[in-house]
Symmetry: C2
Subunit: 295 residues, 2 copies
């Protein structure tokens, strides 16, 4: 499964922006967790590189923003590193009910006998001696790796010797390529900002798409959007919340869709429900974007 390539051979960067209030419409942590699990899965299926959280409720949104950040970061961490990187926290107590992401860095062998030279896996730097790192990569034995890093860092390690002594090298280049040289999706990063205006100022994407039921139908914009998506090295898609659409959220900060987006798009022409929820819009939009890129 090859990643999304732009003509230059570089890998296209996909980012999605999601309001923290996405989890505010249910009081139960169990359902908030499930919703963030849905967002993590949708992002992983379609190879999203960045999930950008923005606070759309300056008064009450900080807790939601922190919860979204903690849970999405936790879910992106390979299972075998979670206990090492996260303290036991009551907010994480329902993560066990979620389906695994099964992205390439999560789907790795758990025993030494299955390892192959050239395998890349995520690990935690547990000690350092001169230029040599000792990396816990979720195996019965640690990996001795050359490369940059300090104790406590999460690093990707490419195995150069397997068997009795596991030796590797820290892999800094992205995309990570497997032993056959194929580029692999390596999960998403999560960032948080205190407002949508800050997010839009900080994020420098070639192509910015806002989604709204008040946008132009994707069917009308298709040839143009498709051509721009194909050429862009980085695409950002921005979503509204269950309470307020993107148009209202922008209005609170005196922003106009036409000024901040290249396209303002209704991704669900002819919707038959009064509203489409953020996590639904995410999967629907990424499905169409993936279709534009792959076709």
């Amino acid at each position: 499964v090859a990643p999304l390539e732009v003509p230059t051979g570089e890998v296209k960067q996909l980012s999605v922006a999601i309001p923290a209030s996405v989890i505010s419409d249910t009081p139960h942590l169990r359902e908030k967790t499930a919703k963030l699990g849905t967002i993590a899965r949708a992002s992983s299926i379609f190879g999203v590189n960045n999930i950008l959280l923005y606070n759309d409720d300056p008064k009450h949104g900080r807790d939601d923003l922190e919860l979204c950040f903690e849970l999405l970061t936790y879910l992106e961490t390979p299972q075998y590193l979670r206990k090492k990187l996260f303290r036991l926290s009551p907010t994480l107590r329902f993560t066990g009910i979620l389906p695994p992401l099964q992205t390439p860095p999560h789907n790795v062998p758990r025993t030494v006998s299955e390892l192959k030279v050239g395998d890349v896996r995520e690990g935690l730097v547990v000690s350092k001696k001169d230029e040599t790192l000792i990396v816990d990569a979720g195996l019965p034995e640690t990996v001795t790796a050359r490369g940059d890093g300090k104790v406590g860092d999460r690093v990707a390690v490419r195995l150069v010797t397997v068997g009795k002594n596991l030796r590797g090298e820290v892999e800094n280049t992205r995309p990570v390529r497997d032993s056959e040289g194929e580029a692999k999706y390596w999960g998403y990063k999560v960032r948080k900002t205190q407002s949508i205006s800050t997010l839009l100022q900080q994020e420098d994407a070639d192509l910015r798409i806002g989604t709204s039921r008040y946008g132009s139908p994707i069917t009308d914009l298709w040839p143009s959007v498709k051509a721009r998506v194909e050429k862009a090295r980085s695409v950002l898609i921005v979503f509204g919340s269950p309470k307020e659409g993107l148009k209202e959220i922008l209005q609170h900060e005196n922003l106009q869709a036409a000024d901040v987006f290249d396209y303002f798009v209704n991704m669900v022409p002819n919707q038959h429900t009064a509203t489409v929820r953020t996590e639904e819009a995410l999967l629907i939009s990424l499905s169409l974007l993936n279709f534009a890129i792959a076709s």
Copy 2:
């Protein structure tokens, strides 16, 4: 929001087929309920007319089949009729955590003063005198309606007099049209069958699409699928389960995809996760199908 029209002016019928084992990968009723809620929402957003459940595990699947049927039927029922049509059942105890479907028959006024002549709403026939039905339509007053029906039936009633006395007529034609004459999506029906072969024998759709990661990428088939979707009066899309893809499910009954489907399609080209779950594939596929129909 106009419904999906075929050139004849008739409304296209969309059906989705889903294996009962879709809920077998979690032991918790709360998450089974949530997953069926996701399926109900996806179907409603895109105006699915029929959800066809099939038992893909002859040995253990009957309970799952019944649970899927009960929950999906319950969710499609307008909130104000649920207590009247369903007995209190332990299997329904987590339905309160789900977001509402907000389809047209769910989004109706709850007070008499908001009613308009021409409004159509769902109700329950509570008594019958000669040709006159007394219908509980979730209002403080019952509606006196002419038309066919017997006590206990769920009927759609078009209001012809509002105010002190509510009078109406049973609306039998589909699609239901609002007072402006616009066709409205009126929810989905749920059916269940004991195997996929029975389902495929019984369902007589103009166009049958099977979904599988082993199918041809949708990008390759697009012009052909799009043309067929546009012409078809009825489209059936069939999905596999979290445990087994559609290819394996067909193999158990000695069926070949090429014999039973017009197209066998991979709706998620370049997926970056090891698997795509049924409820994810449903939303992804309906997004692309809706795009084909609307463009």
